[in-house]
């Protein structure tokens, strides 16, 4: 059985109340019975099923589109093509400065297609099958153009340009220069140079694909989108101007969402096409993305190349920083981009005391699926890079990977720690987490196990992955990319009310996709109101008409534990205060301070017998309010709170400032065994130690650790989105894109410590995106294992068996990418 260790002595004892306890999950009862309502479960009378016609070419001019044969098919309701979209909508707002800002991105391809799977038309029909049949009858003529697949060639003189308006395949570029890298070079005893590192393209591919049922109300001009978009705040900001309508005309509704992992943020193009179709056909339209479409045309994680890396190192192994040129590939369109060009800076030095960092960063478009946030967005790529630096330097200088980490880790006593670019790491004890991870994988026995493996003809290796999960963005960082952007800070909303029969009703602005918000919110609310979680009704899902919708509403970027719960606790405190004020008047107490909330009653502290049940409170305000004194005029027992984290706008000149509020730690340790003959390998032992501050629900936190780790291991071993030279995706479905199944996953050992965040009211930190640690740990372990086989260097984040075999066959090829210069 997978061992799951929880060591209570390491964790603070649960405080009084429900927060800190693993209570039964509220969501489960409906979900285990198949009673969840996911987007494809939503039905509307006479709705049309939509199928998108997609490009078979990676790059081609559209010379003609003819939908007439499709429209002749019995049961087909209608179609829409790019030209119509161009006439009826404006291009989506671009976040970049020139040249990226000039990109014209529409709901359907206009004039040309830029990746395989780019939608060129959409048809709606009576059944799913008919919609598919009709899509096949749409005749599209293409003039194929030359293709840009390799991001390192995208800016070549002779490279085809995807977006002529931009005049270049560059989306954004900029210099980040913190500390004094030249001085660090001068101070170094050695400089380690790495020619090229590559972070591979993959995505966490939620099991439920994207989709929506869209209705249009002619009378009010309002669209209702039953959509599984996980960041409606962003979608509405993108869609409103494109559709030339007001924000309030776009109502987003969701209940259960089958996983998101960031991949359901950038669905706004498809949603706009559906809005147009619903209006044009005057009927509800339904779209569920096919898995193949999800892979070819939705949202991949960004691919990134790190070139000409230089790492100045002192004789004792202390690293002074690094320099590199990074090229990020965002696929064919910049939909959430270029935010990935700055998000990594939340974790600039990784977990290390590196003070001097210089990165020349550029982002390019290529003829591949557009990218978007993917669990660990942009930080994952960067943290993989910092971990590779650590392990390659250790490898080359023959330093122990544990020792070099401990020497360079930021220390617990240095917290809160300001990074070279002004981010403030709130709390954490990396070395302690590492010690626990080492203990879990029985690190002292490593050399013995190595010999045992050798005796069986195998190569055993050990690797560490250390990452940070930065939670609660300061959207002001967008201004470091484009000073004209008017985004900063962050927010989330919740309302908590006491209803007429005394029910506590909580409404969230978040849009959960499996993160258990109903449960966790109920824990926080019940502790404040003195009721049990069972007595707290948290509305399932999200509805932007619920008055709990703010500009940044949604669930992404490890938001909830701080931002979402900040809103919940703020609203609940307001409600508690109102109840106390009401009860003080009714019970004749001296003031609200003399009232306590306990067991569903508001009681006088000096006389607990004088108690007003919540039901009475709710009834008085809502239904029996004659004769209440004027000082209660503002008591509604329906309290809304917007949580705003304490952020400043960063310094645009220096690209300096605090970009996120909290930093959760993940330290993973991994033992692999490689088969020399075939390059196949197996993870024999795996430990994940997490520190996300105060845990409201440890079991849920652990579940997030398991899931994020699985994503990391999948990306390390199996999951990749490779393209051939004509721009065809080679893993367009789950047959070729191998997602780890139960037999592929090693037993996971988990443990946790709690370093409460000093910056959040509950001491919590956002978490859930730390899976990148798995990629680093596997890379490091493979590199360690292969040491006796020619000492190759792992330079790619994705290491399937054949790549490991190639490292074994030709270790020199990778060794040639690394040089150590003695000073």
């Amino acid at each position: 059985m997978s061992s799951t260790t929880v060591a209570p002595e390491r964790v603070q004892a649960p405080q009084k109340g429900f927060a800190g306890q693993s209570i039964p999950r509220k969501e489960d009862k409906r979900l285990v019975q198949g009673q969840g309502v996911y987007v494809d479960d939503v039905r509307r009378h006479e709705m049309g099923y939509v199928h998108f016609v997609r490009s078979p070419y990676a790059h081609a001019a559209i010379t003609s589109i003819d939908v007439s044969k499709a429209l002749e098919l019995d049961g087909v309701y209608g179609a829409i093509i790019g030209e119509e979209v161009a006439a009826l909508t404006d291009p989506f707002f671009q976040l970049s400065v020139p040249p990226g800002s000039e990109i014209k991105d529409y709901a359907l391809a206009v004039g040309k297609v830029r990746h395989v799977g780019d939608p060129v038309a959409a048809v709606a029909a009576r059944t799913r099958e008919l919609a598919r049949d009709a899509a096949e009858l749409v005749e599209v003529e293409y003039e194929p153009l030359s293709v840009v697949v390799d991001p390192e060639r995208a800016l070549d003189e002779d490279a085809a340009v995807l977006h002529e308006e931009a005049g270049s395949n560059l989306v954004w570029s900029g210099e980040f220069d913190w500390g004094d890298f030249d001085a660090a070079l001068a101070e170094a005893d050695r400089v380690v140079r790495i020619e090229r590192l590559h972070f591979d393209r993959f995505s966490s591919t939620p099991l439920e694909t994207s989709g929506a049922v869209v209705e249009y109300d002619r009378g009010t001009g309002q669209w209702t989108l039953h959509a599984n978009n996980q960041f409606p705040g962003f979608a509405i900001i993108m869609m409103g101007p494109a559709l030339r309508t007001g924000m309030d005309k776009l109502r987003f509704v969701s209940q259960d969402i089958g996983g998101g992992f960031g991949n359901k943020i950038c669905t706004h193009p498809q949603l706009v096409a559906l809005c147009l179709l619903a209006r044009k056909l005057n009927r509800p339209v339904q779209w569920t993305e096919w898995r193949t479409d999800q892979h070819t045309g939705n949202s991949h994680g960004n691919e990134r190349v790190f070139l000409d890396v230089e790492v100045p190192v002192k004789a004792d192994g202390t690293m002074l920083g690094f320099r590199c040129k990074a090229i990020d590939d965002c696929g064919a369109y910049s939909r959430y981009e270029p935010l990935g060009c700055i998000i990594w800076a939340q974790v600039t030095p990784g977990l290390y005391r590196w003070r001097n960092v210089r990165i020349d960063f550029s982002q390019v478009v290529t003829n591949k699926s557009p990218c978007g946030p993917n669990r660990g967005y942009s930080r994952m790529q960067h943290l993989w890079f910092t971990e590779r630096i650590i392990d390659i330097v250790a490898h080359e200088l023959d330093l122990d990977p544990v020792e070099i980490r401990k020497r360079n880790y930021i220390k617990a006593e240095e917290m809160p720690y300001e990074t070279p670019n002004g981010c403030v790491y709130d709390s954490g004890d990396y070395a302690r987490c590492l010690d626990i991870a080492l203990e879990l994988v029985d690190h002292p026995s490593l050399e013995r196990r190595r010999r045992d493996a050798e005796a069986r003809g195998k190569l055993l290796g050990f690797g560490i992955g250390s990452t940070l999960d930065s939670g609660t963005n300061n959207f002001g960082q967008s201004q470091l990319l484009n000073p004209d952007l008017q985004f900063s800070g962050n927010n989330e909303v919740a309302t908590v009310k006491l209803d007429i029969f005394g029910e506590v009703v909580v409404t969230l602005g978040t849009t959960p996709q499996g993160q258990s918000h109903e449960t966790v919110a109920s824990q926080v609310v019940s502790d404040i109101l003195g009721v049990t979680p069972d007595q707290v009704h948290v509305r399932a899902g999200h509805d932007s008409y619920w008055n709990t919708h703010a500009g940044f509403s949604g669930t992404y970027a490890s938001q909830f534990a701080v931002t979402g719960l900040g809103a919940v606790s703020g609203a609940t405190e307001k409600l508690a205060d109102e109840i106390r004020r009401l009860a003080a008047v009714i019970l004749g107490a001296g003031g609200p301070d003399e009232i306590e909330l306990d067991g569903g009653f508001a009681k006088r502290k000096d006389n607990p017998e004088a108690a007003l049940p919540f039901m009475a409170c709710g009834a008085i305000i809502n239904a029996n309010n004659a004769g209440l004194p004027p000082e209660l005029d503002d008591v509604t027992l329906n309290c809304r709170y917007v949580y705003r984290p304490p952020f400043q706008v960063p310094d645009k000149e220096r690209k300096f400032g605090n970009l996120t509020l909290t930093y959760a730690t993940q330290i993973h340790a991994c033992v692999v065994e490689v088969d020399r003959e075939t390059g196949t390998y197996e993870i024999l032992d795996y430990a994940a130690v997490d520190d996300c501050g105060k845990r409201i629900h440890p079991q849920i936190v652990e579940g997030q650790v398991h899931g994020a780790t699985a994503h990391g291991l999948g990306a390390a071993m199996f999951e990749t989105f490779p393209y051939d030279e004509q721009g065809t995706l080679l893993t367009a479905n789950f047959y070729d894109y191998h997602v780890p199944h139960a037999l592929d996953m090693p037993p996971l050992k988990t443990d946790a410590i709690e370093s409460p965040s000093p910056f959040t009211s509950l001491g919590t930190k956002g978490m859930g995106e730390g899976g990148g640690a798995g990629i680093h740990a596997v890379c490091a372990a493979i590199q360690d294992a292969l040491r006796p086989a020619g000492n190759p260097i792992v330079t790619d984040s994705h290491n399937p068996y054949h790549r490991v075999w190639e490292l074994l066959q030709n270790p020199e090829a990778s060794r040639a990418l690394v040089r150590v210069e003695e000073r």
């Binding site: 078979p56 395989v116 070819t296 030279e725 065809t728 995706l729 080679l730």
Partner: protein, 185 residues
Amino acid sequence: MKVEGTRSYAAPREKVWDVLNDPAEMAELMPGVESFEIADETHWKAKVKVPLGLGSMRMSIDFEKAESRPPEHARLRAKGNGVGAIMSMETQFDLSEEGGGTGMRWEADVRIFGQVASMGQRVLQPIVNQQVQNVLNALDKRVTATAGAGAEPATGASAAEEGVHPGSPEAYSDEPEGPTHSTQG
């Protein structure tokens, strides 16, 4: 994907040329041709049902004769549209006299786009080889038959037998006359 090879026919070069350059004759050679339409001397169209074992794939293919130097060299372009697949092919061959028979050097550059390309990448190359073999075998049979009764193919092993369906062993044997070299490209 490039496939190329050489082949010998026990028929005079003019005979082979005639078959290869007559669209109607070629239509006979291709498996699964359902209809055929000649637009002009250098352009013709075919609707085919490519037999793929698990079922067939319908495709409409436009052919264009791009280059023609009788009786030794010709180059042909074809572009096919099917469900989930677009095929573009450029093929050329050179005929030389070989004793009483004809030697042929041929090459084809085949590109497949669309869903089939991503789903079928690991089998596309052998499938393209199979299809090319089909055509070559049928050609062998055709020129041999029309060159006169009793004439044996120069290399007998590859002659298709009467009544053998497109999945016949002859069509896919790994003999040297099949594609001798394949590269992704």
